[in-house]
Symmetry: C2
Subunit: 330 residues, 2 copies
DNA sequence: CGTGGATGTGATACCGATTTCATATCGTAG
DNA sequence: CTACGATATGAAATCGGTATCACATCCACG
């Protein structure tokens, strides 16, 4: 059933029906007639037909590197909370860390399918940049910084610096690092640099043998911890770029009789829910993921409204959470 | 720029452009012309205009009770994998466990906005049923059973039964339960029944004092464990409906000097990633969440293709994962 | 050589809504 | 009493595509 059939059924004009669903200027008796016919027939207007003319999709495209990650789902929850209240729905694309899917979903979103885009990417290539430049709708980037776009990011450098410093302040001498892929500016590079700064400030040096690069998984953390402990002089402190990596490292320690924190301190980033209930409760850094989602969504809303070309970067701060995994040695 | 402007620019007819993006029957020279003009102009056809005529949205509506849950995001990942390969995108609605949002998103999906719907609901009311009946596109339900619909569910009863039986076989005498909301047929009622059956088969009785109902969170598990241990006779075994609840219960034990498994065994369901690295590694039941998403998506695809009215229920089995939290007492 | 199927083509009707426009009615301010 | 703004209305143009249709080639087959 389409609008004209329905209009006939309701005994009003097509325009009246359209007005009923949009603004006003409609007499009460017609309003009643339409309401009654609506219940009788179950008619629902077609969204795509509406979009063709009005250009409004009430859809926001969200590009994510993966779904089953605690931090990402928290960001998404924040986004969903804010945009849901404003009547927007989320068109979600899970790229599974595949650049090609990232690119192709940007392409997809150019097809007038969404009113705005939120991008949680880990790496930016030139292709990303050129596609982003072609976008005809506002874009907000969460978790990374990119010039010329509204961004919400975390103080990754500071978080890593503070966590490392916390451990160093307890007198450890051979700090090790399990970082993330360097191409990831935020979780990779910035966190690594934060670690290095703290180590240097403590008058120590960062030996490449004590630096491993892991994927964002527990399994990978486990493997890299194993490699760290294959060095002659064992590390007495491991800073891990994420809690997942830290959990993997801790599992390795547990299985190999290495005591945390007495033999080795372990610190992570992310404040995962499981940190409190780990084998040894994990010291970590709380990043405001949900807030990032909320603020990013708000930025997008305001950019959609004003279409302003002024972009800003919102950097969220962090909270150190100290637990047993970095407790004082004696 | 629209299709006729673009056609003029490319020096071909409107039909030729449409054919370029759809099937074939187009001479190679025109194909080349269009490709060149495409690069020159950056033209992208409008999806909604296409949809008005062709009815195809290439969108699947997915309704979820929450985003930041490991089990749910694993299901979603499965869905996304399968549907992404077939060129579908996901229109995601996070209902935040709010029935009204669940209802309103079903309304939303009636507006010819999606080609199919996947529903991960926890509770079914009459309103749900009547709205679902009005749907004009195929619907698949994951995690619950509902007559008249294609469903993928888990053997929740069996999982709970087996986990409880595992603990009882180790000689515990005062089993306790922390279950989920009974309105949730699968995770609430079925798992509780599985527990009860195992307890009765062991010749024991289920005292209401040893049954608590928790929300799906660690905090709630913690609280309910506290209540269980306020009984005069302490439980020596707690079956928890989910791993999150189990983690909370374990945290309570840890903080109160109750030894797991020596003083109390703890078992969960869900095989959360963190189970291995908990304070005491958690015995749990692996449910095939990702598989559920994959199979549900496949069901939807085949229903969209065949429009068959035959519905089936796919019940996935489970694997017991035995770890230290239920290790033999001596 | 005639016929028919596969291939290729552009004009145009059509999809289902919104928006514009020309017009009507009514209360009220001047 | 007139003029004007606010309210109300339906016909028709419009949005940007796809589907249909009538028609043109071309090659192969009997």
């Amino acid at each position: 059933m389409n609008i004209s059939e329905f209009a006939k059924e309701a005994g009003v004009s097509v325009s009246a029906v359209s007005r009923y669903f949009n603004d006003g200027y409609l007499a009460d008796d017609k309003r009643e007639k339409i309401k009654a016919a609506l219940e009788r027939t179950g008619y629902v207007p077609s969204y795509s037909a509406r979009t063709v003319r009005s250009k409004v999709t009430k859809l926001i495209g969200v590009i994510l590197p993966k779904l089953s990650s605690e931090s990402i789902s928290r960001v998404t929850e924040g986004i969903s909370d804010v945009l849901g209240k404003e009547g927007f729905e989320l068109l979600l694309v899970n790229t599974a860390n595949d650049y090609n899917r990232e690119i192709s979903s940007l392409e997809l979103f150019r097809q007038n399918r969404v009113d705005g885009v939120i991008l949680l990417a880990s790496v930016f290539t030139d292709l990303h940049r050129s596609l982003l430049a072609k976008m005809r709708v506002p874009v907000v980037i969460i978790g990374q910084q990119l010039k010329g776009y509204n961004c919400v990011c975390h103080n990754d450098f500071g978080a890593a610096y503070s966590m490392t410093k916390l451990m160093l302040s307890k007198g450890v001498k051979r700090p090790a690092l399990i970082c993330a892929n360097h191409d990831d500016k935020a979780a990779g590079e910035d966190r690594r640099k934060g670690f290095e700064k703290a180590v240097e400030e403590a008058g120590l040096t960062v030996d490449p043998k004590y630096c491993e690069t892991a994927k964002f998984s527990m399994e990978s953390g486990y493997e890299k911890a194993k490699r760290l402990f294959s060095n002659r002089a064992k590390p007495d402190c491991i800073f891990c770029a994420t809690d997942n990596i830290a959990a993997g490292a801790m599992l390795y320690c547990r299985e190999n009789g290495i005591k945390v924190p007495d033999d080795v301190m372990i610190g992570g980033i992310g404040d995962s829910r499981f940190g409190r209930v780990l084998y040894v409760p994990l010291s970590t850094v709380h990043l405001h993921y949900k807030t990032a989602g909320i603020e990013g969504a708000k930025m997008l809303l305001s950019e959609m409204e004003s279409r302003s070309q002024v972009h800003r970067i919102l950097q969220l701060e962090y909270d150190i959470i100290e637990r047993e995994s970095t407790a004082k040695e004696n």
